[in-house]
Subunit: 476 residues, 2 copies
């Protein structure tokens, strides 16, 4: 636990680069040091425990897939897929997300229902924006329910899982926006959008979280050739947001509710919002007709969670973190692999990199404990290395997390206490000549406050050492 | 938790392949299903807890590195490195192990000491032998201590960590073979091996765990041009194995102890074996002059653990699992990146894929619980979906792991009980008309034995439901 670091200056790094080796990670990737990892593991542990609370199992798929498996799944983003060099043999690509490998897994193994989570890295040759958490290698954290079930039942659980996770992560208040692909499609039909323009107009609507309506309308009319009247009709709909009452309002819109797509979508939303009320997540949900979501493969309910607070700050710059979770229903993706057999799916993906950015921004790095060490065994005078080793072996045998300095004769007591402070180790065991002669050790609580409490240090027999340590640790 | 599977027959898989998509993972890679993952996570959790017991922190590096970082590190095995396609930009390769990225990390960040573990996948374009656990994508599980410390102190802790881990994994009794590169070098010098043949003769010695001495000698003489007399002298040395007394025996060999390399190595071994005695691992250690280890970068102590039992059986075939852990001291690797600054390192790598093969072979798959679900909420008669949802929300709010069937009206009670059995869920909560009318639920212990114990089923108020469930779960 006595990691010593001397981070290099930028000048030294430039000097390094002048050498034969360029000492860096590839563009768009980064190392995570021990403090980053402590934060990341806390996040993953919270998320995993909630996935498990809902009965999810986990599977693992390879980091690369046959190239043809990924082909034709990501539209124009396919250019961002990393290919492996053709070194003879199969053509492979690094996975772009965890959803397509999941669909391949279901189809290949003939699995007709599964509730699974998968936390793993995915790869995109995107223009990196590391400050905003957009990288070429990043974690995805997915939960999906595959299977043929009753209307909106798994969908409601997916939203409940999203809400439980965002609540547990301490990232502030959030809103889960929900909409339905069939309501959007029906709305576009009713407004008079030509069938061949529906996907591209949907993409324009998707930008409403970053652009004003005036700019989105301009894009629809000037770039995408929509008539201004049709755009204005869309403009009226996408303003609408609310909760259960919005279902009634849309039903009362005779034109909209006369459209089969819209009607089916409104019916789904009515059922879903009722279930979300039972699940106590309705107050966090906004039925929002402006939510469109980019991905082509969604076929039903779609959702996206945003934090309500103002942008956080990283390295002195404000950072818009955008959505922290998203998902939806995709009933046709598995069928692209299995041919005849359709396996309906609904899923969520937690934006863990954004969550990491938010939480890292809140934490003072010096307070993050990156090791788990409970006891540091300190030698006085001549160092008593073999006694320290014996004591550590006793502690390890009992499962106590213990370390000692790898020196026969540490410079002095102070340098060993400093390790305890730096590594936030709560207990020190001290052995010197006197202790060895008397068959005892001192145990000292490494309290940071300057209160010189009476019970700060106790002397115990070597034979009852482990017991005493365990008792003290329990009390911390 | 009600994952239903109908594994495809081979004929169906062949039919799938006739389609546009080849539904398979790339050669040498595999999916891990939920039962594999449950076993794997148990293994990782045990190993991680021991790494943490010794104060190790963890870092993470990208799955690919700049190609030049990996170049010149793996000798003739460099041909097994996976390269990413050159899609414009930097040339990158998938990591081949976790040691070189660790050395790059230390040098890049000017970290002079660190005790770290890293569990992650590495990639080798090797000829796969899946049955023997040799794959193109596989986990490594490394623990390394970097820093300038006193003689053999970190080395002893590395061996102690290896021993603690192998003991905790229930893979049967094992032996940790230890040797020293400088003893080997000195031995070859004393025997009369020409300096330019030392590495290749060392590689031949490394095969003694798979080949007889006669065959190894043949390779030395016929393929590598060593004189038979020199080979015979080596043959006398590599027979030697023992414990602390072997240090004295080697010291008494005037020719060997007159060699500076051998002398230094014997001195290290004497100190190490004393420390291992203090750490209570000496009985598991064999000082074995036939251990050579392939990797070029070792500079000091080397070690390798083997299980003592006869080969295990997988798919009806005997499987030699070989070494289950290995490692050694590599004092010069970081210097290949940092130029001037030498950072001595010692490390171990646990062969988790082999451990997985051994443990999977021991377990009956049907007994492996892959989900964490504690309670299944069952509806009678009309199904009572909304009541089941309410009950689940109550349980989830309290952190209880609960599931229910995603049907408004499940077919019958039996099909829901079957889920409990299949998924090994210990408690069922049952709601029917009578329970709803009376504001109660039934809680049933899903015991497998046929004893009809009196307390198998209790009826409790809805208001005290969570409390009752938590009490019952604690008692399980």
């Amino acid at each position: 636990g006595d990691q010593g670091k001397m981070k290099k200056t930028e000048a030294e790094k430039v000097e390094d680069e002048a050498k034969a080796f360029t000492l860096k990670t590839p563009k768009g990737t980064k190392d995570y040091d021990e403090k980053d990892m402590a934060v990341r593991e806390q996040i993953f542990s919270k998320i995993t425990s909630i996935f498990k609370r809902h009965g999810a199992i986990t599977i693992d798929t390879p980091v690369f897939e046959l190239k043809e498996i990924l082909s034709g799944k990501y539209g124009e983003d396919s250019k961002l897929i990393y290919d492996l060099e053709d070194q003879g043999g199969e053509k492979c690509s690094l996975r772009y997300d965890l959803t397509v490998p999941f669909a391949r897994y279901l189809a290949e193994n003939g699995v007709s229902n599964m509730k699974r989570y998968h936390i793993a890295k995915v790869y995109r040759r995107d223009q990196p924006a590391m400050n905003r958490g957009r990288m070429r290698e990043f974690y995805q954290c997915d939960f999906d329910i595959a299977g043929t079930y009753d209307q909106m039942v798994p969908d409601a659980e997916a939203v409940r899982v999203m809400s439980e996770i965002l609540t547990s992560l301490d990232i502030g208040s959030f809103t889960i926006k929900i909409n339905h692909r069939r309501i959007l499609d029906g709305m576009f039909e009713v407004c008079g959008v030509p069938a061949d323009k529906i996907r591209t107009i949907s993409s324009a609507v998707d930008k409403l979280d970053k652009m004003t309506w005036a700019d989105v309308k301009k894009e629809m009319v000037e770039e995408k050739g929509l008539s201004p009247e049709v755009a204005d009709r869309i403009g009226e709909y996408v303003k609408l947001k609310g909760s259960r009452e919005l279902c009634d309002k849309l039903d009362a819109d005779a034109k909209l509710s006369g459209n089969a797509n819209a009607k089916a979508g409104i019916d789904d939303m009515r059922v879903l919002l009722r279930y979300l009320e039972i699940f106590n997540v309705l107050p966090r949900v906004s039925f929002d007709l402006s939510l469109a979501r980019g991905l082509d493969y969604y076929t039903g309910v779609i959702y996206e969670a945003v934090v309500n607070s103002s942008p956080s700050v990283l390295n002195g710059e404000p950072v818009g973190v955008g959505s922290v979770a998203a998902g939806g229903r995709y009933d046709d993706l598995v069928g692209m692999f299995s041919g005849n057999k359709k396996i309906p799916c609904v899923g969520i993906s937690i934006g863990v990199e954004r969550v990491f950015t938010i939480i890292s921004g809140q934490r003072d790095r010096s307070t993050i404990k990156s090791n788990a060490t409970e006891v540091y065994v300190i030698g006085l005078g001549e160092g008593f290395l073999q006694e320290r080793m014996q004591i550590c072996a006793q502690l390890w045998d009992a499962g106590v997390k213990a370390e000692y300095m790898f020196k026969k004769k540490p410079r002095n007591l102070q340098v060993q206490f400093e390790v305890c402070d730096k590594e936030q180790i709560p207990l020190a065991i001290i052995v010197g000549k006197q202790e060895v002669d008397n068959g005892v050790v001192k145990i000292r609580k490494m309290v940071k406050d300057n209160v010189d409490s009476v019970d700060k240090e106790v002397t115990v027999e070597r034979s009852s050492l482990v017991e005493s340590v365990q008792k003290l640790l329990k009390a911390i």
